[in-house]
């Protein structure tokens, strides 16, 4: 029946949404693009379009009022099916673009640093992090090393890859002059402990911060700015007390 495929696509979107909500891993944020579904729905739409043209001609030439009524009815049903398919396709794509937007805000470096010239090799997961060969993004902060999770750009359609890169650039431009000091990509949870006490778990040499040089010798303790040492905590050199 017309619209069945669309319905399956929507169920797929719903499933993806549930996955997003229950899983925090980056890989599960965007499930593979349902290219086959979309292509088949578009085929159905094409078929419906042909029907519409045909029925339209029939209606114009019809003289018998009873027949006319019937043909109009057919025409409407045909149209509703097209409308239905359109709404479902839009809902599916919009849901994904919303998710891409969120990803751009949360994981901007991952998006910006990857996907250059990596299209085509379908089954090869492309790592989007740690590629510092991107000119758009000189102001890299240390989150690059923390987020060493992979994000498979081949889960996105070609159009989506274009979209996500453009949107990412838009966000970067927002972070320019006016809000340069604010870091709009930063945390939306209020700062609680700007400074923390840490204990050194293994020797890490000297680190330079705004508050001077710290020599990180095992078992020593320091009072430092959390953002300065976040990386070292992640890497297991320091432990928050």
């Amino acid at each position: 029946m017309y619209g069945d495929l669309s319905n399956k696509l929507i169920l797929e979107a719903k499933r993806a949404k549930q996955l997003r909500e229950t899983s925090t891993s980056l890989a599960s944020q965007l499930t593979p693009y349902q290219e086959t579904f979309v292509r088949n729905i578009l085929k159905e739409v094409e078929q419906l379009k042909q029907n519409a043209i045909f029925l339209h001609e029939e209606i114009v030439n019809e003289t018998d009022p009873m027949q006319l009524k019937m043909k109009k009815c057919q025409y409407y049903v045909n149209f509703f099916a097209m409308e239905r398919n359109k709404r479902c396709l839009l809902a599916y794509h919009k849901d994904r673009s919303d998710t891409m937007d969120s990803l751009c805000w949360d994981q901007q470096n991952l998006i910006l640093n990857g996907g250059n010239g990596n299209k085509g090799n379908k089954h090869d997961a492309t790592t989007l992090d740690n590629n510092n060969n991107n000119d758009d993004n000189d102001n890299d902060n240390n989150s690059n090393n923390i987020d060493n999770e992979t994000f498979d750009i081949n889960n996105l359609s070609h159009e989506e890859q274009v979209y996500i890169r453009e949107y990412s650039k838009l966000i970067t431009s927002l972070n320019g002059d006016e809000f340069a000091d604010i870091d709009l990509n930063g945390s939306l949870v209020p700062p609680s402990e700007v400074f923390i006490d840490v204990r050194v778990l293994k020797d890490a040499g000297e680190i330079q911060t705004e508050y001077g040089v710290f020599n990180l010798i095992k078992d020593s303790q320091f009072f430092v700015r959390q953002s300065d040492v976040e990386r070292l905590i992640q890497q297991g050199y320091l432990k928050k007390i």
Partner: protein, 234 residues
């Protein structure tokens, strides 16, 4: 989306705490920041003050910085809560707990709550957050034993929550007055309180539209508005 769904139309508990932390609280500093060169004129915010001497050691942009630049050890002063907590963590001050955090005062509030099923006692709008912060960050600054205070607060919380739940029974399509409900409590009931009211409103709209003129919408004699009010202190 630029803003996660979990943050839309609600605040995180941390955000409620953040809002409360902007409020002033009395402290007893253990350090002296007042210098011979004084900044007595109040919070002179001068963006170029780095060019004029002497340097003002504390310059703040969210609050009057006179107090913090004029702390004298063991002489009470008032600072925003977040700063008081920061100094407390550095063992540079004691926090003077507000009057209402004593066993006897909390008992009075509990008493009032129990005697007035349709009213909330006039606890400060931030009582719950203040209590939590003091319990965790400054337990030694509380006069009464902490376990007694904690259990009183827990009682208060439960009594008030039960009242809120009863209050939901009188939610309607018009409005509801909930004086003295604290911000944290509001935030906790927000998701369902607003949703239920919205549903009532829509139901009301639909029945009004669907049933036409001959149906008396106000067959029900009860007042459409409801009040969950409080007029007196305990």
């Amino acid at each position: 989306m630029s803003f996660p769904e979990s943050l839309q139309n609600t605040f995180l508990p941390q955000e409620i705490q953040f809002i409360v932390e902007n409020e002033p609280i009395k402290i007893l500093p253990r350090i002296t920041t007042r210098q011979r060169k004084q900044y007595r004129q109040g919070s002179n915010y001068d963006p170029d003050s780095k060019n004029s001497h002497p340097i003002k050691p504390w310059r703040l942009i969210t609050t009057n910085d006179y107090n913090v630049n004029n702390m004298i050890a063991m002489k009470s002063t008032e600072l925003p809560l977040w700063m008081a907590v920061l100094l407390k963590e550095q063992k540079k001050c004691n926090i003077i707990a507000p009057n209402w955090i004593t066993v006897s005062n909390l008992d009075k509030y509990i008493d009032f709550e129990l005697k007035n099923p349709m009213k909330f006692s006039s606890l400060p709008w931030n009582w719950l957050v203040i209590a939590c912060i003091l319990f965790t960050k400054a337990p030694d600054d509380l006069t009464d034993p902490i376990h007694l205070l904690k259990s009183r607060c827990q009682d208060l919380r439960e009594i008030r929550l039960a009242k809120v739940q009863n209050g939901l029974a009188i939610l309607n399509e018009s409005h509801l007055q909930l004086d003295n409900l604290s911000l944290m409590e509001i935030n906790e009931i927000r998701p369902y309180a607003t949703k239920i009211s919205d549903m009532f409103k829509n139901l009301h709209k639909n029945t009004a539209a669907g049933l036409g003129e001959d149906y008396d919408m106000h067959m029900d004699t009860s007042e459409p508005g409801a009040s969950f009010n409080m007029t007196q202190n305990p």
